[in-house]
Symmetry: C2
Subunit: 344 residues, 2 copies
Amino acid sequence: MPQTSEINRQIVLNERPKGEPDANTLRMTTTEVPVPGANEMLVRTVYLSLDPYMRGRMNDAKSYAEPVSIGGVITAQVVAQVVSSNLDGFEPGDYVLSGSGWQDYAITDGTEVMNLGKSPENPSWALGILGMPGYTAYAGLLKIGEPKPGETVVVAAAAGPVGATVGQIAKLKGCRVVGIAGGAEKCAHIVENLGFDACIDHTAVDFADQLKAACPDGIDVYFENVGGKVLYAVLPLLNPFARVPVCGIVAWYNLPGLPDGPDMGPAIMGTLLRMKVKMQGFIIFDNFTREVYEEFRRDMMGWLQDGSIKYKEHMVDGLENAPDAFNQLLSGGNFGKMVVNVGV
Amino acid sequence: MPQTSEINRQIVLNERPKGEPDANTLRMTTTEVPVPGANEMLVRTVYLSLDPYMRGRMNDAKSYAEPVSIGGVITAQVVAQVVSSNLDGFEPGDYVLSGSGWQDYAITDGTEVMNLGKSPENPSWALGILGMPGYTAYAGLLKIGEPKPGETVVVAAAAGPVGATVGQIAKLKGCRVVGIAGGAEKCAHIVENLGFDACIDHTAVDFADQLKAACPDGIDVYFENVGGKVLYAVLPLLNPFARVPVCGIVAWYNLPGLPDGPDMGPAIMGTLLRMKVKMQGFIIFDNFTREVYEEFRRDMMGWLQDGSIKYKEHMVDGLENAPDAFNQLLSGGNFGKMVVNVGV
């Protein structure tokens, strides 16, 4: 069932997942296409962004954002087009960045909606390199990681939109950059196309040894977006005064509970203490000011225009395929920023 | 065998401990009293400081300082008196703060030795409230913890020299302060004499529940000096943007290896992420500049003089009792700053 102008397909939370989301976690439902009231507009989803943080919203747990309720539409940013508008500043045909969620149509009063204009060059990039993932990479690396020329920066999920951007910015800042990714194809891309100094395949049995060999001077900045065995391989390599921006722990998002031991708590805390490490969690739109965002937009536009930053998307067709694509994302099966083409 | 002018008693590392130091870990040996050469002086230990960090020096592990070698004198700061001096600026009878270690006599060229004068008011305080522990509390709390009036500050080992000082400074800064200590006597002292708002006994079976009840507005600053179950009870109470200066993890210093699970790594990292927490390890003389030290000395002298900071010592008699006293310190058996009277 493709997108039509007649009905609104929605993907809603059917039950909270224990571990990996399965066939019962999400379901598709349909409603009528809603009609905008005064000072509202109707927008039609063109591109849907899939991001690891959405897994957290499916839990009923204390976090930085409200969980999705049972029966609620899954949270997401989308690039949409205005269908009809009773709002100043938005006209039919305008592309917008909107928090519509996993559905074809949404009504909005324009709050936190950004107008991208009638014909943006790469409209879906607002979900990636020019949006939340790009900004996360930029601010987390530069404002918390504070990399200095000659230092070693390590980043996992290096073929993903955050990791790839972190590594490329770190190269621009004069660092030695080591990526971590799953499989030879991604690693080749990361070194050959993105210019990282090395990339380690985390599926290798001697992954930790390879990482150590690739970081002969230790690690000064570890951009944490995966947790799990990558974190534990990084810990013994951290240098005095290392910085660890904590952006995500995707390897652990599907845990139904705490994993078996040993308890690595003493290793984490002992490393922080002995090596005088700073670890700092951040949520991009909570931690940084508007000035940092403007700085990001200015720098990133420049880097994209002069070709010093490259960007890759992993496009999936059809809203109905979003649940499977999301599980693929959580298990590292994406190669580039995962975007669902809902209604191009 | 008391201190004499004839021989130099030394406590040296006999073998590296696996877990808690035992009767084979340390041994007393004697040497002749050494004779100072040109530009050297001989100092006689009066007070020996016992501090948890010494446990780490007994391991052969990558850390911020060199381990003590087998047969080497255990590292320590002492308050000593100059016996004879071929050094400008030091005369017989002067009290000095020196890194002599666990022994009666030492030769020094004056490097990193501070002259305390002929008759300091409380010479042993240079090992505690006016020395490394006091400075650790001051700089860790104020420069990393950055407490704001009205915030909740939690500190463990609150009857020890660092914890007691952290809590009293936090009170001076207008915070709600909750201490954690072992036993009713210490907790009573902490609330009644030191002015903390509450103190929780970590030996209580419902310790975690009591801590939660004592922190109705969550925790904004957790000064980490113990690790273990206290850390794990604190994690779910941390507020958004909480700060965690990591000064020590004494509950884990005797671990022979990683403890059994579950693995709390995901809980630590997940809390950092969701709550946007900053955790930062520090080693007092590596992290802070001379200016911070001067600021500490100025503030602390004032607070001691006007009675707004109180200080308690746990004095043990005799160098031969230092090993038992050190184990007592590691298990939380001290009540106040542990100091050995070696030769008053």
